[in-house]
């Protein structure tokens, strides 16, 4: 396990700052959801902060990222503007997906975040194809592009997971599949859903290295992801990396998680990676209470500004409803609002 004393203090404080930002953002997102500022579904990264920050620290700017729908933290740690992420949650035109995607479908071309995906595991085949495109157009090497494909534990039971790992193995694709195992697929425990509950072992069916890492340890996550990415870049060796962590709340904001015992909740709170990392940094002398408070207050400020930005942003204009229907315009594109006549009013009232 990497130790704190071999790491630059600035880097460690930076990770704490990012974890704090994710925590503050998600708590505020939950509040905004209950105040009906955010619609639809809203899945939070609460409890997953060390995994989020560790993975994103390992990912290079040249790499591509595909995620599940539990993705706000990854977008923030990847460098997306918190105001534009919150604006997407609010369904505003300034949102990272222009208000078209919402919480589950964040996207940013420049950050190479190629989408949050709302269908469980739907991102796995396209991420595999992105790695195919990388292999198609470039050679392996230490600075080569790679793809990271995130998914939850539940996604490892779908067919597309197995089909994709098989393709990555036989085609030697530069991809790291990361299973963020928070122990529960909605309310179903991993042990009840997976014939092999040690999910990293599922790589062996495809002779793919499987690695499990403590997802509550940001440095361990970063180290494991860096090694897997290096294998992808330099050897075109795909990896199945499993990060074990906790989900501090329900499946989504509206889920009270009554299926979990008080003991289990207490166990998870004791493993909460944000206060744990804070304590370790203070013990190691990397952080003092004043610096910690400054970081935490800074995160609150950023999130407040993000909410204000989202509040003030206008919603997408209704006359842009068909703007993104297709990338290549051809004749007879569908553009009717409910109740409009198919040939225009004049066409319909034409008489013989």
């Amino acid at each position: 396990m990497p130790e704190l004393d071999t790491e630059a203090p600035d880097v460690l404080r930076g990770y704490y700052q990012q974890m704090t930002l994710v925590r503050a953002f998600e708590l505020r997102a939950a509040e905004m959801y209950t105040r009906a500022k955010i619609g639809g579904y809203c899945h939070l990264n609460l409890g997953e902060e060390a995994t989020v920050v560790g993975l994103m620290a390992a990912l290079g700017p040249q790499d591509y990222l595909f995620t599940s729908y539990r993705e706000h933290g990854y977008a923030l740690a990847r460098g997306l503007d918190p105001g534009r992420v919150m604006a997407e949650l609010f369904g505003k035109a300034a949102g990272v997906s222009g208000g078209w995607g919402g919480s589950m479908h964040l996207f940013d071309t420049s950050a190479r975040l190629l989408g949050g995906y709302g269908v469980v595991g739907g991102q796995i085949p396209p991420a595999t194809g992105a790695a195919l495109a990388v292999a198609y157009r470039s050679d392996p090497g230490p600075d080569a592009e790679a793809v990271m494909c995130l998914m939850g534990d539940g996604a490892t039971n779908i067919g597309a997971f197995h089909e994709s790992l098989n393709l990555a193995a036989i085609w030697h694709l530069p991809i790291v599949y990361v299973v963020v195992n928070n122990g529960l697929g909605m309310g179903t425990p991993v042990e009840a859903a997976s014939g092999e509950p040690e999910l990293f072992r599922r790589g062996c069916a495809y002779r793919m290295p499987g690695v499990r890492v403590d997802g509550n340890n940001v440095l361990a996550v970063r180290a494991a992801a860096s090694a897997a990415l290096a294998a992808a870049r330099e050897e075109r060796q795909p990896t199945l990396l499993e990060a074990t962590c906790g989900r501090l709340r329900g499946h989504s904001v509206v889920d009270p998680a009554r299926y979990r015992s008080r003991e289990e909740n207490e166990r998870l709170r004791a493993l909460d990676p944000v206060p744990m990392f804070r304590s370790r940094l203070i013990e190691a002398g990397v952080l003092d209470l004043a610096a910690a408070s400054t970081i935490e207050a800074g995160a609150e400020e950023v999130v407040s500004a993000a909410v204000a930005f989202a509040e003030e942003s206008p919603p997408p204009a209704v006359d842009e409803l068909f703007v993104h229907g297709y990338a290549t315009l051809v004749p007879n594109m569908p553009d009717l609002l409910p109740g409009e006549p198919i040939l225009g009013v004049e066409g319909v009232i034409g008489q013989r």
Binding site: S97, F107, P125, P126, G129, V348
Partner: protein
């Protein structure tokens, strides 16, 4: 112009597009070493190598999804799904992913993907290998769906699909692969989203696509001898749908029949009939009739299979019925 088969037109167009654009590559089951289940990709592995002609295991959801991801990064994959029946294994990737990405991500990414797949019955392949389920895809915003009926259209629509930045599904038909026709030499790119008047006429419009359009043109030529002038509208594109051309034809002829290989209820013909009643209501002299497949899983036995599929005789009968109902020629 060069006369060739529909199969040859597809093959030559794929090859030409691969030569024209390095980003174009082929992906699918048995397309390389085996040269395609229906031999559309004959010789292409030998010419272009395994990087451009990628054989896949049997995993439609996996390889269609992989093609989507490759397209997101700017490649232009041409996917062959062995038959349209197996596209159901990939329908989540096609409908929930390829079709949605451009809009759902605010226009930041496009999916320049082509999926070729033959459908159609009549080959005694049984219920699971004989379907015409193009309407499943024609229903979905974000997809483009074309169904060429001639070798020339196969070339023109495939070339257009490869150069289009959206996911385009090309619905081929097993019964058309050996049909012959004149194909324009050189670059021939049709406009997706437009129908063709395959044959002009004045008495009745027959709307059709794919194999049915070929039958309709044949019937139209035969009935000319009886003094019946049929106008055939070949849809060519199921999505977008060229409603103006359909309605303009029916406004001229005042009668319409749809010939379609898919099942009657909720089929393509239902959409055409609704289009005509809204866009040519005051011009119609008779109800719009549909000649479609019997609504059963297609049987294996030849006698039953033939009975279930629409054919020229059924179209001739319905054309006559429609004309008689309006005292045509009397």
């Amino acid at each position: 112009m060069t006369e060739m088969t529909y199969r040859q037109a597809l093959h030559d167009t794929i090859r030409a597009e691969m030569l024209r654009d390095e980003r174009v590559f082929l992906i699918g089951e048995e397309i390389g070493v085996f040269e395609g289940s229906y031999k559309i990709t004959t010789g292409l592995l030998a010419e272009f190598g395994p990087r451009r002609v990628r054989d896949t295991p049997i995993c439609e959801e996996g390889f269609v999804g992989a093609a989507i991801g490759a397209a997101m990064l700017g490649l232009r994959p041409i996917v062959e799904i062995m038959t349209i029946n197996f596209s159901l294994l990939a329908i989540d990737q096609i409908v929930n992913h390829a079709a949605k990405m451009h809009a759902m991500f605010g226009g930041q990414v496009s999916v320049p993907l082509v999926i070729r797949m033959p459908g159609g019955g009549g080959q005694q392949l049984g219920a699971t290998h004989s379907q015409n389920i193009e309407v499943y895809y024609a229903h979905v915003p974000g997809l483009k769906v074309v169904a060429p009926s001639t070798p020339a259209d196969a070339k023109g629509l495939l070339a257009a699909a490869v150069r289009d930045d959206d996911p385009v599904l090309i619905v081929e038909n097993l019964a058309l692969y050996n049909t012959r026709g004149d194909v324009p030499d050189g670059d021939h790119v049709l406009e997706i989203g437009t129908a063709a008047i395959a044959k002009e006429g004045t008495d009745i419009t027959v709307v059709a696509y794919s194999r049915a359009a070929a039958i309709a043109v044949d019937v139209a030529r035969r009935l000319e001898d009886e003094g019946i002038s049929i106008e055939v509208v070949d849809l060519r594109s199921l999505r977008p749908l060229d409603r103006s051309t359909i309605c303009a034809s029916v406004r001229k002829t005042t009668r319409a029949v749809v010939l379609e290989d898919d099942w009657l209820s909720y089929g393509v013909g239902a959409e055409i009939a609704a289009t005509i009643q809204e866009g040519a209501f005051d011009f119609l002299d008779a109800p719009v009739r549909r000649v479609a497949a019997a609504e059963v899983p297609l049987p294996y036995a030849k006698s039953l299979e033939s009975a279930a599929l629409p054919d020229a005789a059924a179209l001739v009968k319905v054309v006559h019925d429609t004309l008689d109902a309006t005292r045509f020629g009397r």
